[in-house]
């Protein structure tokens, strides 16, 4: 049978199937995470230490916060490849704001506004000028990285002593604030995606933009909002990055967009839009982060780590697709 047929049978077909196949996706990811834990606990020194678990959380925050917004964007049928440069740019911009003596909380707010404004450029280009989001965000990717490097000459922008910024990097009862913020934002996004008109509209737009428009959903506005939100989330990541590094760095977060998209896709969200879940992305973020952490602990040659990462992303998506298919087949009877 052709795959086209196969693909087609997944979305259509039996009622109540949606529940199970979504299940299958998340179950298979959960199994993968357990397997990774077992493997790394037995082979990698220090993997299970409290400290390392916290490190994993902290690393997960970098990918996760951006990935929540990216999930919505991908569900809506768009893509955002500008995350990495956006995070770096915001960390630089924020560092300058702080250098200019703007009060820290105000500077944070400004950073988030800047992020949202920059993100909405791509959104406006997509929504009102039909520029594909891949092109718009690719332009941002290049322009933001370039601007950040140009402004700083690739030198870190020091912010000196700043208690509020430092606080953001100081663990609360052992848990780093970045991880807490990530989890709070996860809850917010999971809620928004399932319980608000905005969230459901995103699914509708991804599933059939024309039908969504004719149902009275303000497609253009939601598209702009999605990219503004993505920009704002990148700004939050940028703030946390600044607090972790103690300086604004134009070269930071390089390749983050790949990790973010990989996490979303591994989490079972379809690049073609209309389908996906926050929980899947959470698990996807964990898979990506665990692999990164475990391979470093194992002392694997860093170049070889890239090979392993590439393979694992493909295998994860492959297994996921097969699991969904099998789940669909089983519910046949």
């Amino acid at each position: 049978m052709s795959n086209d047929q196969a693909v087609r049978t997944v979305p259509s077909g039996a009622p109540r199937r949606r529940g199970l196949s979504q299940h299958m996706n998340e179950i298979s990811l959960f199994v993968a995470i357990v397997a990774l834990y077992v493997v790394f606990t037995t082979t990698a020194n220090g993997f299970m230490s409290f400290n390392n678990q916290i490190n994993i959380l902290r690393d997960a925050a970098t990918i996760g916060i951006a990935a929540w917004a990216a999930t919505l964007i991908i569900i809506s049928g768009e893509i955002d490849v500008s995350v990495g440069p956006m995070v770096a740019f915001i960390s630089v911009a924020l560092a300058y704001l702080l250098q200019w003596g703007i009060p820290t909380p105000l500077a944070f707010v400004l950073a988030i506004i800047i992020g949202a404004a920059l993100g909405s450029i791509a959104g406006i280009l997509r929504a009102y000028f039909d520029v594909p989001s891949f092109v718009g965000t690719l332009g941002l990717w290049s322009a933001l990285r370039g601007t950040a490097l140009f402004m700083t000459d690739a030198l870190p922008v020091s912010i000196g002593r700043n208690d509020i910024v430092d606080m953001l990097d100081r663990p609360v009862l052992g848990v780093p604030p970045a991880a807490i913020i990530m989890l709070i934002l996860f809850a917010v996004f999971a809620f928004v995606s399932r319980k608000t008109a905005f969230g459901r509209s995103v699914y509708a737009i991804g599933g059939n933009p024309q039908a969504a428009f004719l149902s009275g959903i303000n497609v253009a506005r939601i598209r702009v909002q999605l990219f503004a939100i993505a920009g704002a989330m990148a700004a939050v990541s940028g703030i946390l990055l600044l607090s972790r590094l103690g300086s604004g760095n134009a070269t930071a977060a390089s390749g983050l967009e790949f990790d973010v998209i990989a996490a979303v896709v591994v989490g079972g969200t379809a690049l073609s839009g209309g389908r996906g879940s926050m929980l899947g992305t959470l698990l996807g973020v964990l898979v990506i982060t665990l692999i990164g952490n475990g391979l470093v602990l194992l002392g694997i040659n860093p170049f070889f780590q890239q090979v392993v990462r590439g393979l694992i992303i493909v295998v994860a998506v492959l297994a996921n697709i097969q699991a969904i298919k099998r789940g669909a087949a089983r519910s046949k009877g």
Partner: protein, 510 residues
């Protein structure tokens, strides 16, 4: 007749060009084909009847090799199909099976000629022979009375023209079995006539034809026998001439159908929508009419008359050149789509699949998308309210669905259409613009949709009902206007809506 007799001789055994033996096909959760056996002889026009989801298209996909049955055999021209994937389809094609699928299967970006020969482009020394291809394409199209240049892209054609191109495609080469899956569902009466004339010609050449349609009058015109399907099973094959429509419908439904009554109209005065001098080049020259509260206004016209454009212009999804649109007596100037929704308008597009539904989402979300606020509390969607609102619509519009959150893509066309109308009921719209709401919908669902529309009108809503099936206009409309040459030419008022007169008005001057 001599021709078909000759053809018959070349098929010994039992004279069947195509045969299904005990075929079963299961899709996740559905038994789409249940131990079905079916055969069709050369020169025969066989109608295939059944409700939405009865398994007609599935049976077709068996014959064309597009799908492999779970059990049973499919033989074409006396030889069983083997293989799978595109090889199987190729096998069936080589044996002479041609098909017009229900879903449009054209590639919009390619030219008409290329689409006609899709995947089987004529080649000369490995290089595509465009000249020969376009010449042949022009011939094939002329047979259907089409005169667009074959090098035009399909993207520029109207849905109806696309359908005709698909039909032209099956006439190419040397077909032995031509299958038409609802070929006229997007055509108005006059074009449907063209298709039926073509079908008759094909059959006269000794080619077997399988013809699927929900329009009984077409079937009576061209088919001698009809196979009725229900729930994936073949129920019976009847002689069309000998069976009356009620009997056939009873076989299809497994029960007696509710008969749609003709409309009793009463005088109405409050004008909710007043259009005057609406122009939109090149289709609409000057359109003026009034829509009153509680009225169902039918708009008839030929293919390409501009009915869709008219509705789209009113709704603000398409810019128009001139004219005024007054809602409740207020000139609204340039309407915007969402502003029109806010004024209590609702619009269902003519292509349900492309523009109507979000297939992956449930019936519930496809319903409440028009008004999330009504099912929210303090900006948060309430699962209970969504379910209630959906159940409400399901009950009022008799939607057949397993649950409120069943993905709408899995429902039959008729039920999808009811949800698409139902979402405006949920939104509380008082003026509904329905573009071909019964397209591809089975008899039972059609009757239900008529009832629904009448009920909505009785509640004081106004409806504009665009349809290419003239026979249904008297069943729903208080008034019918005929759109021709960019103007509303004639008006018929219930109970004096005469099918033949409407038809004549549509084609006058042609």
């Amino acid at each position: 007749m001599t021709q078909s007799a000759n053809a018959r001789q070349s098929h010994p055994v039992d004279g069947a060009i195509a045969a299904l033996e005990g075929c079963t096909k299961r899709y996740p959760g559905v038994l789409a084909l249940d131990n079905a056996s079916f055969r069709v002889a050369p020169g025969e026009v066989r109608a295939l009847l059944g409700k939405n989801g009865a398994g007609k298209s599935t049976l077709i996909r068996m014959l064309t090799g597009a799908e492999v049955p779970d059990s049973g055999t499919v033989s074409i021209d006396g030889v069983a199909l083997s293989g799978s994937g595109s090889a199987r389809a190729q096998e069936a094609f080589v044996r002479g099976v041609r098909v017009v699928y229900q879903e449009l299967s054209l590639v919009p970006g390619m030219s008409i000629a290329e689409n006609l020969f899709l995947g089987r482009w004529p080649r000369r020394a490995g290089v595509l022979d465009y000249t020969g291809m376009e010449a042949e394409a022009r011939d094939a199209m002329q047979r259907l009375g089409l005169d667009m240049p074959p090098s035009d892209p399909v993207a520029g054609l109207s849905p109806a023209e696309r359908q005709l191109v698909e039909i032209a495609r099956v006439l190419l080469g040397k077909p032995k079995l031509v299958i038409l899956d609802e070929p006229t569902s997007s055509l108005a009466a006059a074009e449907a006539e063209k298709v039926m004339a073509a079908v008759k010609r094909i059959a006269a050449d000794g080619i077997a034809v399988i013809y699927i349609s929900h329009r009984m009058n077409e079937i009576r015109q061209i088919a001698r026998s009809a196979t009725v399907m229900r729930d994936g099973r073949i129920i019976d094959t009847v002689d069309v001439a000998g069976a009356d429509t009620r009997e056939i419908v009873r076989l299809m439904l497994g029960s007696e159908a509710a008969q749609a009554a003709a409309v009793e109209t009463k005088a109405r005065d409050k004008v909710v929508l007043d259009i005057s001098g609406l122009a939109l080049a090149p289709k609409l020259a000057s359109v003026s009419f009034q829509l009153r509260q509680g009225e169902v206004l039918g708009i008839a016209g030929l293919l390409g008359a501009g009915r869709t454009e008219l509705l789209q212009a009113i709704m603000g999804v398409r810019a128009y050149d001139r004219g005024t649109i007054c809602v409740d007596g207020i000139d609204i100037r340039r309407p915007g789509y969402r502003a029109m929704l806010d004024r209590g308008f609702g619009y269902t597009p003519e292509s349900r699949k492309e523009e109507g539904i979000v297939p992956l989402l449930g019936v519930d979300e496809n319903t409440v998308a028009t008004d999330f606020a009504a099912v929210s509390r303090r900006g948060i969607l309430s699962a209970r309210r969504i379910a209630e609102a959906t159940r409400d619509v399901i009950a009022r519009l008799h939607v057949k669905t397993a649950a409120t959150d069943t993905p709408i893509g899995t429902l039959s066309g008729g039920n999808q259409q009811k949800v698409v109308i139902g979402r405006w009921v949920h939104a509380g719209s008082r003026v509904l613009l329905l573009d071909e709401p019964t397209r591809g919908v089975d008899v039972e669902a059609k009757a239900q949709i008529y009832t629904i529309i009448r009920q909505l009108a009785a509640e004081g809503r106004s409806v504009i009902f665009v349809s290419s099936e003239i026979e249904e206009l008297p069943l729903v409309c208080d008034r019918v206007l005929v759109l021709r040459e960019g103007r509303l030419m004639e008006e018929f008022t219930s109970p004096n809506i005469d099918q033949d007169a409407v038809m004549a008005a549509c084609i006058a001057g042609h």
